[in-house]
């Protein structure tokens, strides 16, 4: 029941986003590329995969889940490295370097604290050393 509502919501959200983007795409039809469309379908598919996978996450682990997804969404390092490291004007590269610092902080603290929390969850019998 919960899962169904969640999927509906997620589908609606992804569809909205895709809709907005494709509207913009139509406006700028001249440079409409196949790549943009495939990115949009990747978004819709990934949202469904995400909803399916995360709907099954144990409720015990919601706090570590949040710190883990936090670290995962710091994948924006990829963008930050490209901007900080490419041959762009320095002011732009500075923005990239600050973004890189912020993402790296999330990666390090996110993974470390998730690991720390997950290790604490023990079954009966396992708990007492």
């Amino acid at each position: 029941m919960v899962r169904r509502t969640v999927s509906l919501w997620g589908a609606a959200a992804a569809a909205c986003l895709a809709g907005v983007a494709s509207a913009a795409e139509t406006v700028s039809s001249a440079e409409a590329t196949a790549q943009n469309w495939s990115s949009l379908s990747v978004l819709v598919l990934a949202t469904f995969v995400g909803l399916g996978v995360i709907g099954r996450v144990s409720r015990l682990l919601h706090t570590p889940l949040m710190s883990l997804t936090n670290a995962i969404s710091a994948i924006s390092v990829v963008g930050s490295i490209l901007i900080a490291g490419s041959d762009y004007p320095p002011p732009i590269r500075i923005l990239g370097a600050i973004a890189l610092f912020a993402s790296m902080t999330n990666i390090v603290s996110g993974f470390l604290i998730t690991e720390r929390m997950i290790r604490m969850f023990k079954e009966r019998g396992e708990a007492k050393k």
């Binding site: 682990l61 883990l68 490291g85």
Partner: protein, 469 residues
């Protein structure tokens, strides 16, 4: 060749990210999750760094080292401080997204405005808007959670609040549309978009109070994910789109679970100003009074009980009482008493907050049960011990139409044979309503700091055990 290798690394990273989340379905397999996530991230970073267009390395190294220096201490905070750490990292995520959007805009603006297509511009506007509003919104939330003195804890309400917020958002969207249609039309449009997003983030969180934080943190989590998706469109990177969508889906699911657990909608949490709701005074409220119980009396009831449930709430986190609670749990289970912890989805200040605290105190997760699994068997419970929880056990949510929390699912502790409620003072809970549970015939109050009261209960139990032996 190089290009293909980079793409293969990105593909592997996508698979590993999905596996990392999939393994979170059970605490045992979850131990693999972090390794998978770290491997994915390392692959993605190494692949990106090796791309030919990355020619400057010094700043990258400095930023990475800085991230490690700040990140390591942030991962060592006390577990009671995890909600504010989480909010802070959402802020960092938002900052990164906002800055990358800004950098890309000005890069194309300066070098090749024709590159600012409608599609890219839409993505940049969405990324910047969400990124910067997540930044200030999360900083506000972190400040509130941490109890920073100059950020008011209680919801701040002023006249025309929703109209102001909505107006601001519409203005930001209008500027966004202007930029999409005419990317280089005005030099002030983009800075204005940033300023409005920053302001909107602050104003959005100011009216929200403590107990709504689990929902708000989840929503901000979803925003951070969506801004990463938008960044994926800006940079034309599928990896970013997928990782962002996973994060967004997680935030969305958690928000929905939190909202359902409070019987409220998103809009109600964001625009409701919940803390200001005044409860209608129940008839005969004047002659209601608490019954107090002594530690000795409570210990005696616990000794005679066969099935005890413990309902922890934010009060347990505030008092850092989880280790004392674990001692009480040990003392009771040693006697052969069955002890279960019943957790309300919104207990604490973020999703799953109580579970982590109990795990820290080495309470095995077999004895942690969810509200829906415990409620049907509540009549068999001999003693329900409420530790710092309030609204989530208030029977008014079931019985009093018109009460602000009416309809919210609760842990039906009032159906247990005896209830002991540990409470710091006689104040009302977050919702500002009297808790009917405290005035019931079967309820006895234990006033005091949760840590002290639980400690004394445990001591009394062990004294009694020694006397019996």
């Amino acid at each position: 060749m190089m290009h293909a290798l980079v793409e293969i690394a990105y593909l592997a990273a996508i698979v590993l990210f999905i596996l990392a989340l999939y393994w979170m379905n059970d605490p045992k397999s979850a131990r693999r999750s972090v390794s998978a996530g770290v491997a994915a991230m390392a692959l993605a970073m190494a692949a990106t760094w090796s791309r030919p267009e990355v020619v400057h390395h010094l700043w990258i190294i400095i930023a990475l080292v800085g991230g490690v220096v700040v990140g390591v201490p942030l991962s060592r905070v006390a577990l009671t401080a995890v909600p504010q750490r989480t909010a802070l990292s959402h802020a960092f995520g938002g900052l990164a997204a906002g800055l990358v959007g800004t950098a890309k805009y000005y890069m194309w603006f300066g070098e090749d405005p024709a590159e600012l297509t409608g599609f890219r511009m839409t993505a940049i506007v969405v990324e910047t808007l969400l990124g910067f509003l997540t930044l200030t919104g999360s900083l506000m939330a972190a400040g509130k959670l941490h109890g920073v003195s100059w950020i008011p804890q209680r919801p701040v309400i002023y006249p025309m609040q929703n109209a102001t917020n909505l107006g601001l958002l519409l203005l930001a969207l209008a500027i966004g549309v202007f930029l999409i249609v005419n990317p280089t039309g005005s030099a002030v449009a983009f800075p204005m978009l940033i300023a409005l997003s920053l302001a909107f983030g602050v104003l959005l969180i100011i009216p929200i109070g403590g107990a709504d934080m689990p929902t708000v943190i989840s929503i901000l989590n979803a925003y951070a994910g969506l801004s990463a998706v938008a960044m994926g469109f800006v940079l034309d990177s599928r990896l970013l789109v997928v990782a962002g969508a996973l994060d967004g889906a997680s935030g969305l699911i958690l928000s929905i679970i939190m909202c359902r657990a409070m019987n409220r909608s998103f809009t109600n949490v964001l625009f409701g100003g919940f803390g200001q709701v005044q409860a209608p005074t129940a008839a005969g409220a004047e002659d209601r009074h608490y019954k107090e119980e002594t530690i000795e009396g409570a210990a005696q009831s616990l000794e005679m009980a066969r099935l005890v449930i413990i309902v922890p709430g934010y009060g347990m986190a505030v008092a850092h009482a989880q280790h004392r609670v674990a001692e009480l749990y040990d003392q009771l289970t040693k006697r052969g008493t069955t002890v279960k912890f019943v957790i309300h989805p919104v207990a604490g200040r973020m999703p799953g907050h109580m579970n982590v605290l109990l795990a820290e105190a080495e309470i095995p997760y077999d004895d942690i049960v969810e509200m829906d699994d415990m409620n049907p068997d509540m009549a068999q419970v001999d003693v329900a011990l409420i530790i710092g929880a309030n609204d989530v056990v208030n029977p008014a949510a079931k019985e009093q139409k018109g009460c602000p929390i009416y309809g919210m699912p609760i842990i039906e502790a009032h159906r247990a044979k005896t209830v002991f409620a540990i409470k710091r003072g006689k104040s009302t809970g977050f919702a500002g309503i009297e808790n009917d549970l405290y005035f019931r015939d079967e309820t006895f109050m234990l006033f005091g700091d949760a840590k002290d009261v639980v400690g004394e209960l445990t001591k009394q139990l062990s004294v009694d055990a020694a006397a019996a032996a």
